[in-house]
């Protein structure tokens, strides 16, 4: 065993830059996933059967196929059909955003459905219309179930984001590969970015715990 971390020192700024690249597209993907996912969740709890069916199908496709396949499909297969040369960045936020929206929609739907049915009935009995009932009565209570699960989804997304290295997007993971190839030494670079992923995920975990505790306080 011959470990030599001094050799990766010149590459450290290069690898650290990967943090922002990773965080950048993860955050954009999360935002996309959240908005589309919320919309799909509303469709899922609506009474329009056809729309509900489409939303369920959408979700099952993203949950039923490998993420890496979805990514490569968007990056390699879509240009073949559309004739549009999609960038790795766009492929990444599109794939992760849409994929995440499928999971987020399930999280929100389940969170809303976990709210005691009596709440809805009490609101209906008072003559409160659907929109204010959802926004002021149901959603605030659903948030208790939704936020911790969303936090988990963000953590998963941050870790899974390393898959974008396969389409040559220069994220944290890809940078470790580049440095490893250049030095003909892989161990140190992977340990280095591995530690960065670990710290990022731990920070999200702590954030989630704090959030959960604050939500519990209002009980």
């Amino acid at each position: 065993m011959n470990l030599d971390f001094s050799q990766i020192v010149p590459y450290i700024p290069f690898m650290l830059e990967g943090i922002w690249v990773t965080l950048g597209f993860v955050i954009i993907a999360i935002v996309i996933g959240f908005f589309i996912g919320s919309f799909i969740a509303l469709v899922k709890i609506s009474h329009i059967k056809v729309l509900r069916w489409i939303a369920d199908f959408y979700t099952s496709v993203f949950r039923g196929t490998p993420l890496i396949l979805q990514l490569m499909f968007v990056y390699y297969a879509v240009p073949q059909v559309l004739g549009y040369d999609i960038s790795p960045f766009l492929s990444a936020i599109l794939t992760f955003g849409l994929n995440s929206s499928a999971y987020v929609s399930e999280i929100i739907r389940a969170g809303i459905e976990a709210v005691d049915k009596g709440q809805r009935e009490a609101a209906m009995a008072l003559g409160i219309p659907y929109r204010p009932m959802m926004i002021k009565i149901i959603l605030p209570q659903a948030m208790k179930n939704i936020l911790p699960a969303l936090m988990n989804e963000f953590i998963t997304l941050t870790k899974e984001s390393a898959i974008v290295s396969v389409i040559n997007y220069l994220d944290l993971m890809r940078r470790a590969q580049v440095v490893g190839a250049e030095l003909y030494r892989n161990f140190e670079a992977y340990i280095f970015v591995g530690a960065i992923y670990y710290v990022m995920v731990m920070m999200l975990t702590v954030l989630g715990k704090l959030l959960e505790r604050r939500l519990k306080k209002s009980d």
Binding site: L126, I128, Q141, S218
Partner: protein, 240 residues
């Protein structure tokens, strides 16, 4: 005020209500009693369309709520409902539980809504709980808040679905007392209850249901002393 004609309600193949005919006059207090599973809750829930009737008609103030295109929200605003399990909004203070619906659907100012809420809370003896969250209240207190919340909409009719069945015995009286004084004030009410003493004292009329039908309707003194049907007598024998 309420007229029910040939009301049927099915869940799938099961006919839970069969040909219900009755009416409730303004100012009348009706107690609905009967074995569990006989369709009492379903009947109440049809009156404010928490369940939609399978067939038949229900008129509220002359408006048939089974007509297509009828404004169900408007009808519900005239009808207060109190549930067995309270269903207070846990994320809102007691005051907001009372003012949220009026502020959202009625044309009242915040000041008016809050003044009214204060009055109602004091009438159910809970003025000191105005800033409390529901989870900090006892069952009896929760149910009194739930009654006040329904009254905050100034309904013309109040529906009670076993309002004391989920309460510890020592809290039953405080809730029944509130309902009694509401009855005395002239409110039109339909109360599903297992409290026979209460039904006898407060109701102008008893509706006895069994297997989805109204089996007997009578004045309380008649009903409790000389029920006409075997089923009603059997039932009374078990519960009295």
């Amino acid at each position: 005020m309420i007229k029910v004609e040939n009301l049927h309600k099915s869940f799938g193949d099961i006919e839970v209500l069969q040909n219900i005919n009755t009416s409730i006059e303004k100012g009348e207090v009706v107690a609905i009693i009967g074995p569990s599973g006989s369709g009492k809750s379903t009947f109440l829930r049809c009156i404010n369309v928490l369940e939609s009737p399978t067939a038949g008609h229900i008129w509220v103030d002359g408006e048939d709520l089974t007509e297509p295109g009828v404004n169900i929200l408007n009808i519900r605003q005239k009808i207060g409902m109190v549930f067995q399990h309270f269903h207070l909004f846990p994320h809102m203070k007691v005051l907001d539980n009372l003012t949220y619906a009026p502020l959202t659907v009625k044309d009242v100012s915040k000041l008016e809504a809050e003044t009214h809420a204060h009055e109602l809370l004091s009438s159910v003896g809970l003025s000191d709980k105005i800033d409390a969250y529901p989870n900090s209240l006892s069952g009896g207190q929760k149910q009194r808040v739930a009654i006040a919340r329904a009254l905050a909409m100034e309904p013309e009719l109040m529906l009670f679905d076993e309002p004391t069945s989920a309460l510890d015995p020592e809290m039953v009286k405080e809730v029944l007392d509130v309902i009694k004084s509401l009855a005395k004030s002239g409110m039109t009410m339909a109360v599903v209850t297992h409290e026979m003493g209460f039904a006898r004292e407060v109701a102008d009329r008893i509706i006895f249901m069994d297997y989805g039908k109204i089996v007997e309707e009578a004045k309380p003194e008649e009903f409790f002393s000389s029920a006409k049907t075997d089923r009603a007598r059997d039932f009374l024998e078990k519960v009295l």
